[in-house]
């Protein structure tokens, strides 16, 4: 029954978008993170999406979306001279995370809109499927 595959497709979409929302929340929560070395500082995290294809028919249209991985932003960290800060290193510098609030807000809106799109698809498919089940009544 091919209609049932739509639930899987939209399901992968919702999973991917909710992971994106989770990462946005994590980034926003850590926006003011401060540390005393470059390695320990929080870097903004972003998901990498890739289309999923049927492994037997790779030329067919996508059957969903997958998350290939999560990458850390390589944008330069903000160095700040604050010798009185308890976390300052020996040279008196602290490092702030490279989370861009404006970017995260835009990401959040885009992710929630895309999530809603997938929910709409599930709702329509559900209606169609239940109408099909009632066929001939």
């Amino acid at each position: 029954m091919s209609m049932l595959k739509i639930f899987d497709t939209a399901g992968t979409g919702m999973t991917a978008q909710s992971l994106r929302l989770n990462l946005v929340a994590s980034n926003m929560a850590n926006v003011d993170n401060v540390s005393s070395s470059i390695e320990q500082t929080y870097r903004a995290r972003h998901p990498v999406f890739s289309a999923l294809f049927n492994q037997f028919n790779p030329d067919d249209p996508a059957v969903g979306v997958g998350v290939k991985g999560v990458i850390e932003s390589q944008t330069a960290l903000k160095m700040e001279y604050a010798p009185n800060h308890p976390l300052a290193d020996t040279d008196g510098y602290i490092y702030r995370s490279n989370v861009d609030l404006a970017e995260e807000m835009a990401n959040m809106i885009s992710a929630s809109r895309s999530y809603q799109s997938n929910v709409e698809v599930v709702n329509s498919a559900k209606q169609l499927l239940s109408a099909t089940l009632r066929l001939g009544e």
Partner: protein
């Protein structure tokens, strides 16, 4: 009248519309995937191809499998031409996909109506009342 052919074009149409809904759902799920190209197929052309029974694949040996209606070969799946191409190579236009999905859903329901009518007609003939 052959009872297999009682449903006429609507059986094929329903399967093709279900397939199209699947393809469009794939597009909507990949609205944010970099490099993803939106796919779709020409419903009317596919229906015309699958309709004439003579052209369908014939089952002449026991080992043959009947070609199923509603399966669209990958070669018939076209790529959408984006109105506003985006920088990451993604060609999904969410609004367009949504309206296509909605109209496809309506057409699916129309096919269901036609099928229901046919079934009711058959039942009337069987019961004779």
């Amino acid at each position: 009248m052959n009872i297999d052919e009682a449903f006429g074009i609507h059986e094929q149409a329903l399967k093709l519309k279900a397939r199209r809904a699947e393809v469009l759902a794939g597009n909507i799920a990949n609205a944010d995937t970099p490099g993803y190209k939106a796919r779709d197929f020409d419903f009317h052309q596919m229906l015309r191809q699958q309709m004439p029974r003579m052209d369908r694949m014939q089952v002449t040996q026991t080992g043959h499998i009947q070609a199923e209606a509603g399966i669209v070969p990958a070669g018939q799946m076209a790529y959408r031409v984006p109105l506003q191409p985006s920088l990451d190579g993604n060609s999904v236009d969410t609004q367009l996909e949504h309206s296509a999905f909605a109209s496809n859903a309506l057409e699916y329901q129309a096919s269901l109506r036609f099928l229901s009518g046919n079934i009711r007609k058959l039942l009337t003939a069987i019961k004779g009342q």
